[in-house]
Subunit: 472 residues, 2 copies
């Protein structure tokens, strides 16, 4: 991989920059089947870091992991009508198994509501069996014509949580709790602020009564739907006959939620924080937080570097030592800048003589000489500072690119010129929503506040402010 | 779920016992598509425990996790001929995507050699890129006509490790290291001793030069192939053109290994240790190591139980408190015995008065009164004792059911009467192997020792002793 090959400038060619970055940083590669993606070890390690965090949050709430088959019989997926309608155009279908044409076709899961709730209907008998809260870490398949690494791939990794409750209130609490878990992850780990709110009817998950979303803003001003949490009401419960005997003795349908976060979120991470030199990883999601690079390669430097890496690892810092030969210092620096490692330490004879290292930050290129005795503590500080700095910078970008508009002329001009989030009253009609989309490419991203105003498009009374943006 | 429904006796009806146990202990359930299986939270939690252990061992060796697409273009899987021949009858094939007939069919991975090594051929350029050592935690699909929960399902979870090396020697070292990791897991976690050795040509993985296997013995005397590690030689490297420039400057094919352990191993765990009352989990693989059961249910007992669970959790013991109402004490005891929890603590007024608990071991039903002050320490001891005891018991069973035989008459009689492992010389000919299988249902499980003897079947000189057994 040629790390010295110049990336296009991010501001000149976002999508060229993004694709080359993903490949050169060895985050991912194209799979052999059209639309598919390989998550390479470096990219997958980021996924593992967030997985660990989210998994702990889920388990602390009493959610258990499980695994349901990837194959859904066609008859099953047809049972909830609006769900089927939403997913029908995107399905991958197995028609041959063990050398024979199958009697019933099998759908490769686009999401697991149907196959899971079929089982829930068998497992749930009494109010004592509730709540059921199950999560899966798996992959889902939705056919895509155009691939965009991480952001749009035929197969993607995700987690999907699926719960069943005795009351709607309890279900709504869990829907909100899940969204809050995502929010914590995005703020504390991704350093990516976003807007949270309900989706419009048009943008609601197929089969759900309501969808909450976490909407982030990418450079270039497009929104990215980064995680969703659904109130499924009793729609699937009725389609799959998921009933329980209540405390009072009568039979009731359960109330359900589902919620998910996918590898798509990593696309947002890359795009939001990267710069012209490559990736910039928030330390909490950096598989390598500190890379030690030898200025020259000899036994003394190697021994010095090994000791440093050892002591950093003991301090729970993810450190690595780049001793690969055949690469110049400049090449190595470019490589690790491309890979977005938050801190690099350069070591040579001068540093050894001073019992120190040269510490360089990836986010702002600041460098300093740090004494070995203070190294772990200094790195901990710097990592925290980098993590916090990326969040501040991203929040600033989000705020500077969110504007309230009061006329459609203003809306159109702002959206076509600068994109970003626009806040406007909307009457809730699907016609206005679709006209706005046609004329500005902007969709309703999520509801902001209740209020009292006039629809930005038709001028009729509108009781809600919404975030609008063009979206990935 | 009716825990009070009597299991068939294990000794009377192994397979009836096994199926009912898997369902009643809520380890797994049947999926809606034929041949598939749902891993329920309790079963999946066991998988997570072993996953954590194995994943650490892999990473300590420098193996990275990654994710490759589940869809393999048909042309790709055809490239290594003997690999294709081995898997062709078991493939699930996607022929429709996004509503259209696909131009090229996609195979749902039965294993990932082909799709991974296609990528390796792009990624590996120089000896400096080696070794490549990548593991995946995913699922694989192999069409099955008859389902046997955990042991034989169309889709199963596993890990598959895939490495590429500059020399055959290094590859063979990794093949052995992987098998050794499995051995450690089986001995220390599963409490399941087994025989390790090379497979015969007939039983070798399709496309490999050699396969090492871990063979355990199930009650009823059948062997279970529990994990395998393959020496792929340069077969795939040649089919997929995985070459590197050596230190000396010439271009060479890499040497490869692959190795895997699947949810099938859980079938072995269940079968080997279970008894007429249900599952018996080795403590290290028990999602719940200690279950606290109230003898009566009131606030004082609940508070007492909560405190106990809290203190056990603080001591890193996986403890839970069964406060579910509407179930009698006897019902709860049956339930947790069915689920194989190593230790149960019963608490009632008597125990509270004595600041103690009644501790009952699942493995031998021994009970004792333990003072609260000593509880954590006592439980740690007992858990270790249970873990060790299960291994001793399993080793005894393995040894008592392994016999060396010196004539084919003896072989046939022993195999047809008692099954188990038989040690015998075999000349290595596929004809003898297949005749023996036809007449006794026994196959070569793995090589034992080099030696100097006569083939148990044809009487010709034989340089190797082999383990024979009927197998799942």
């Amino acid at each position: 991989m040629a790390y010295d090959k110049q990336l296009p400038k991010k501001s000149d060619d976002m999508s060229g920059w993004y694709n080359m970055l993903v490949l050169q940083a060895e985050l991912a590669d194209y799979g052999s089947a059209k639309g598919t993606m390989i998550m390479r070890p470096y990219g997958y390690a980021i996924w593992e870091l967030l997985q660990k965090e989210l998994d702990q949050a889920f388990k602390a709430k009493g959610v258990s992991n499980a695994y349901f088959p990837m194959f859904i019989p066609e008859s099953l997926i047809k049972r909830e009508v609006s769900h089927l309608e939403g997913f029908a155009p995107e399905l991958a279908v197995v028609t041959i198994g063990g050398g024979e044409e199958l009697q019933e076709k099998l759908i490769v899961r686009p999401t697991s509501e149907t196959i899971m709730y079929e089982a829930y209907s068998k497992w749930i008998k009494s109010w004592r069996d509730l709540p059921v809260m199950i999560n899966q870490w798996n992959s889902a398949v939705r056919w895509e014509k155009r691939t965009y690494l991480f952001l749009r791939t035929t197969e993607f990794l995700w987690q999907e949580g699926h719960t069943a409750h005795a009351t709607h209130e309890e279900a709504l609490d869990i829907q909100k709790w899940a969204m809050n878990s995502y929010k914590n992850l995005f703020l504390d780990y991704f350093a990516l602020p976003g807007y949270i709110g309900s989706k419009s009817k048009t943008e609601t998950f197929a089969g759900a009564d309501g969808t909450m979303t976490y909407e982030t803003l990418m450079p270039g001003g497009k929104a990215l739907q980064s995680a969703t949490s659904h109130d499924l009401g009793q729609n699937f419960a009725k389609a799959f006959d998921v009933k329980f005997q209540s405390k009072e003795g009568d039979s009731r349908f359960v109330w359900q939620t589902s919620w998910g976060l996918s590898t798509r979120s990593l696309g947002g991470l890359i795009m939001a924080h990267g710069d012209d030199k490559g990736l910039r990883l928030p330390p909490k999601l950096a598989p390598v937080q500190v890379i030690v690079i030898p200025v020259k390669s000899d036994d003394v430097v190697t021994e010095y570097g090994d000791k440093i890496v050892y002591s950093l690892k003991k301090a729970n810092i993810r450190a690595d030592f780049d001793t690969r030969d055949g690469e110049s210092l400049g090449f190595k620096i470019n490589k690790w800048e491309m890979k977005g490692v938050p801190i690099r330490l350069e070591i040579g004879q001068k540093e050894i003589d001073l019992r120190s290292v040269k510490l360089v930050r990836r986010d702002n290129n600041n460098s300093q000489i740090v004494n070995l005795e203070k190294l772990s503590a200094e790195i901990q500080n710097q990592l925290e500072d980098i993590q916090a700095g990326l969040l501040i910078r991203a929040r600033k970008y989000l705020e500077e690119n969110t504007h309230e508009v009061s006329s459609y002329t203003q809306f159109k001009e702002a959206m076509l010129k600068n994109r970003g989030f626009l806040i406007a009253y909307w009457c809730g009609s699907a016609e206005c929503e679709s006209d706005i989309k046609e004329q500005t490419k902007a969709t309703t991203r999520c509801q902001k506040d209740k209020g009292d105003g006039l629809c930005i498009y038709c001028g009729k009374p509108a009781a809600e402010q919404w975030y609008f943006a063009q979206a990935y």
